[in-house]
Symmetry: C2
Subunit: 354 residues, 2 copies
């Protein structure tokens, strides 16, 4: 697939101007744009600028609150519930992460739940926000479309419900784990279908539980949880903690944001941050993290396997590369973005000029 | 395999008397015995009375501190580090869970890390201790033998590192998820090898990454993480949080407790508990948990599949059944227990009398 390369700041400004053009307040547009391009920079392009066209579709349809009153509903020194008032997910979650960090710095830890939010992109982006503050973080979210049944069932009641963690290190790349609780994301499946590729066994099964590998049949298939019933259990727990606990949508209450662009999604997320020095000296903790990371990276590789990587290591390499050499945007996405730019009469149409 | 059935309290008393016979203080023996039989009652027999013979071997070898000074090393209103002083794992973790519950009731939540502990059995047992207090809990532990390499490697630097969650409900069985981050436990693999059964694909691979299904070759094999690199990442994060953060053993520092019965294992665990009513009304939270559970249980099953079960549901059924009808003990385990009883001159030799 043809790719075009753009400087980071150009894309950030572009997304910002599109959102402003759609009626989003300048400060919200700026935050949302940063978080989206940060997803691209981690290599999670499925949560980056790729999402701008569907967000625009939702903005045009009136599915977002353009002037949300994002407020704290309940609060203690170590917790809060942030009500996003149907604002942009990236903005709502950023507010919650900042609140959690501020509380954790003062009180040791903080768990902030979120309701009335929207799709917020890559969990790793939010988990990583804790790292400059030398905090450990955990993020959970409920996906915005149900593509998975309960283990042993066929009704689509569960999404890819991701979990992310960030853990500070000293000189090594910080640990940033960002994983769906399904073997594959629906995005990956759709990309395979577009290309006409066969699906690897383990990505999907049909209604009888048989492996579904023909990517032209994905409408008959379900995503599979990691580790079978274990991933189902973890997925459900994430739903309870990011959804039910926050009065956010889970199970049959989840709105399929690919089909319905108007109904508020009431998306739920949570962010937990914590000071490592509650438990041991920070410098010693970070030094041992480095040591354990090196021990694993330098261990014997399997014959013919890729080099051993720690969670977040490749994302950092990708970010460094893209900051130096630009961010790739796939041609089909670029064509949609140019269309949007023309429609809004923006100065930058993302032509292939530096 | 032949099974013999014993009343719950008879087994509790038996384990207690064995531990006392091995020199363990009465209060510690009582706590350890309760936790071990609770694992049996959840159906996690691999962490129940099955473990008494190896614990005895370790006690005899001087691998435990018989009079540990279990103390709090660091403490804030929402956190603590419990130093187990090489006491019995079940006793150390119980102390930490009780401390966490007490702090969470007062301050909303508490994360208690543990060092200088030992193998403590089933995570679900500890997570479930939060439920009578209407608290949510999360438990993580580092396994006591490394059976897994990093993803893409062949050096055994990782264990089955389990994670457990408990979430209160109203009338439905509470959610108790208790899962290793490997597809199979080493115990399951060993049972298959004993029986001469083939291993299912996905449990183990050989040094070239090829599926290893011949259970007579398990010494050449490695356990596999759930969801491939995802499970590896989660396993490493658990190691960082339950181990490195608490100055407990992780990676190459883990002592294989199946081979070394003397060196202190410095096992690491963590327990986090939290009040749901920080986020919403408790009764409403529990009522919606019930509703989401019922929605899943009553959804359409896959043709030919088992009924849909929620995490913890079977464990509760098993407990109810065993409390009414007794706890099964497999014959090979029973023979070892009888041997121990004779050696210690205990009144009860677990003969097949009621």
């Amino acid at each position: 697939m043809d790719q075009h390369i753009f400087a980071v700041e150009r894309l950030v400004k572009f997304v910002e101007s599109v959102l402003i053009g759609q009626g989003v307040a300048t400060d919200h547009a700026r935050i949302c744009s940063r978080r989206m391009i940060e997803a691209d920079l981690r290599g999670m392009h499925g949560h980056g600028i790729f999402r701008l066209p569907p967000y625009c579709k939702r903005l045009e349809a009136g599915g977002y609150n353009l002037n949300p009153d994002i407020k704290i509903k309940r609060e203690t020194p170590v917790s809060a519930v942030v009500d996003g008032d149907n604002g942009l997910g990236q903005v709502v979650v950023t507010r919650a992460v900042e609140l959690s960090i501020q509380k954790a710095k003062t009180n040791g830890m903080a768990w902030v739940g979120i309701c009335n939010s929207n799709h917020a992109g890559a969990g790793g982006v939010y988990a990583a926000m804790a790292l400059p503050h030398d905090l450990i973080s955990m993020y959970m979210a409920i996906g915005n479309a149900n593509h998975m049944p309960p283990w042993g069932g066929i009704d689509l009641l569960l999404s890819t419900n991701p979990i992310a963690f960030a853990i500070p290190t000293d000189k090594e790349p910080p640990i940033v784990l960002d994983m769906a609780t399904t073997n594959a994301s629906y995005g990956k499946v759709k990309v395979a279908a577009q290309k006409g590729d066969a699906l690897p066994v383990g990505w999907m099964v049909d209604k009888k539980g048989q492996p579904l590998t023909d990517s032209q049949r994905i409408k008959d298939g379900f995503l599979l949880p990691i580790g079978e019933y274990k991933g189902f259990g973890l997925n459900f727990v994430i739903g309870a903690l990011a959804g039910v606990l926050n009065t956010a949508a889970f199970g049959s209450a989840v709105i399929d944001f690919n089909k319905d662009f108007i109904t508020p999604t009431n998306s739920g997320q949570l962010i937990f941050t914590m000071r490592p020095d509650l438990f041991r000296n920070l410098a010693e903790f970070k030094a041992e993290m480095d040591m354990r990371i090196q021990e694993i990276r330098n261990s014997t590789p399997m014959e013919g396997a890729q080099p051993i990587r720690l969670p977040g290591e490749m994302a950092l390499k990708r970010e460094q590369d893209m900051r130096a050499n630009g961010v790739p945007v796939a041609e089909p996405v670029l064509l949609q973005l140019r269309e949007i730019a023309k429609k809004l009469g923006l100065p930058d149409h993302l032509d292939d000029t530096p």
